[in-house]
């Protein structure tokens, strides 16, 4: 029984409670609560201005909430309020146990530095001090994200959009984070490139048992990647649940509109 508790009843990885953000009279996010467990992928969908990016910034401790709080279960098992972390701890979390995949790879990569160093940087930041081992690890990550390893010494500015995005993913995953934030990870890519990227992310997430929070306006991305979904409108979560349940049996009018606006796949 205790073992059962450990396995299925483990504490949530992240807890959001009554999160809100206001800018003066403008309400960007209101009263958002959820639990995220290890290995779960949560999609946050909604159109521009629905508050999903604001929410992602609060969850990733880049923006201080006006109300409520976000707690995270650290690697030592202690769940802590993100607001109670010092800046050094927060940045360390960001470099090790978290990943953040930006829509624009130029935001998440060092464009003038070689691919190998882009991947190796997070290792060096946690004290790896052996060139050969850093390079071997970077090489194996390039392989995993299907980048030709002969390009390891090229800077990402010489890469295509899809390659850059895959490199960004490798750079984030090299420290084996437990939680990855993704902000429109397939935005701005060709459809065929998107499919390959989605497939890659899907298999990496399941192989590594990652938890992920994916912000997207693309319901196909949400369907393929996520277990659960939250639909946002006007800064509030209007519908939430299992991804296939919400998309196949949407209850709210707005969700029905979103679902019916998608071209059949």
């Amino acid at each position: 029984m205790a073992e059962q508790m450990m396995h299925d009843g483990a504490a949530p990885l992240m807890i959001a409670e009554g999160l809100g953000k206001t800018y003066g009279r403008l309400v960007a996010c209101r009263d958002i609560s959820f639990n995220l467990y290890s290995g779960e992928v949560l999609a946050i969908v909604g159109e521009s201005g629905s508050g999903k990016s604001t929410l992602l910034q609060m969850l990733s401790a880049q923006l201080t909430p006006s109300a409520g709080r976000v707690s995270y279960r650290m690697r030592d098992g202690v769940t802590r309020d993100l607001a109670s972390l010092g800046e050094a701890e927060r940045r360390f979390l960001f470099r090790t146990d978290w990943g953040y995949v930006h829509q624009d790879p130029a935001m998440g990569l060092r464009m003038a530095v070689s691919a190998g160093a882009n991947v190796g940087e997070r290792l060096m930041a946690v004290g790896w001090n052996h060139y050969g081992r850093i390079r071997d690890t970077a090489t194996s990550w390039l392989e995993r994200v299907e980048i030709d390893t002969s390009r390891i010494d090229d800077a990402p500015r010489t890469y295509s959009g899809g390659m850059r995005q895959r490199l960004q993913i490798a750079r984030n995953l090299v420290t084996e984070p437990r939680l990855v934030f993704m902000d429109e990870p397939t935005g701005g890519l060709d459809v065929s490139v998107q499919a390959r990227l989605l497939d890659l992310m899907r298999s990496l997430v399941s192989e590594l048992g990652l938890a992920a929070i994916v912000v997207t306006h693309d319901l196909a991305v949400a369907r393929l990647l996520s277990h659960r979904i939250m639909v946002m409108k006007g800064g509030q979560v209007i519908e939430a649940g299992l991804t296939d349940q919400v998309l196949d049996d949407p209850h709210e009018g707005y969700t029905q509109l979103l679902v019916s606006s998608v071209l059949p796949g």
Binding site: G241, Q245, G253, Q256
Partner: protein
């Protein structure tokens, strides 16, 4: 022995907000039970809500009223009120679902599509692939296709890949939505054999089958869904 599936007064209505909020009742008062080793076939004309009942049991459609009890990991869980992660756990460990259509992931080879439920449950690559391979062989999918993504296959081949994926893991409950719809006689016979084997292994099955011959072969009991038709 507890029932593996037990529905009491389950009810489902669609509210179409985009059409002025009209309510489309689908089923009401659904009550049925499926015991281990039993195959129950749902009957009724199309549109009677047979697929909706399966989807409610799989957690794909939400249940507005009533209960959906599932025997899951030595306990009973009400799927109508379960948390998303509990439903995911039920899908991983208890309920398998074979739909009419394969939702193929681009670029994933057929053999991995089939073996994926085993991988998710923690099986090793080689073991998963070898088991997937023998099932594909049984379903007459030539070996040269195994490494190709099924999106390029014919309808019948895709259907058989889907069947293999659904039948491969050893789950105690299987939901079958017209598994033999586009199969030839030889492959239909294979599916009937597979169902018979599952029964012998104690699997509880709830199926929708239009082919009289197949229904005859597999059904222990037939439940007519028209009885649950919601009065419009």
């Amino acid at each position: 022995m507890p029932a593996m599936i037990e529905l009491t007064d389950a009810c489902k209505t669609f509210t179409m907000h985009l059409q002025g909020g009209i309510r489309l009742p689908v089923v009401r008062g659904v009550s049925l039970a499926v015991m281990p080793g039993e195959c129950v076939v749902l009957s009724g004309p199309s549109g009677a809500g047979k697929s909706s009942v399966l989807k409610m049991i799989f957690g794909n459609y939400r249940c507005d009223e009533g209960r959906i009890f599932i025997h899951h990991q030595d306990a009973t869980i009400d799927l109508a009120r379960a948390e998303p992660r509990q439903i995911l756990s039920v899908r991983r460990h208890t309920i398998g679902y074979v739909s009419q259509f394969l939702r193929a992931v681009p670029r994933v080879p057929a053999i991995d599509v089939v073996a994926e439920p085993l991988f998710v449950a923690g099986a090793a690559r080689e073991e998963g692939r070898s088991r997937a391979g023998s099932l594909l062989r049984r379903l007459n999918i030539p070996e040269r296709l195994w490494s190709l993504p099924p999106s390029t296959f014919s309808g019948g081949e895709q259907q058989r890949v889907n069947i293999a994926r659904g039948f491969l893991p050893d789950l105690p409950i299987l939901l079958l939505d017209e598994p033999t719809a586009s199969l030839d006689a030889a492959n239909r016979a294979v599916v009937v054999d597979l169902i018979t084997e599952k029964k012998r292994a104690g699997v509880a099955m709830l199926a929708i089958v239009h082919d009289d011959e197949v229904r005859e072969a597999i059904a222990d009991r037939i439940v007519d869904v028209t009885a649950f038709a919601a009065a419009a």
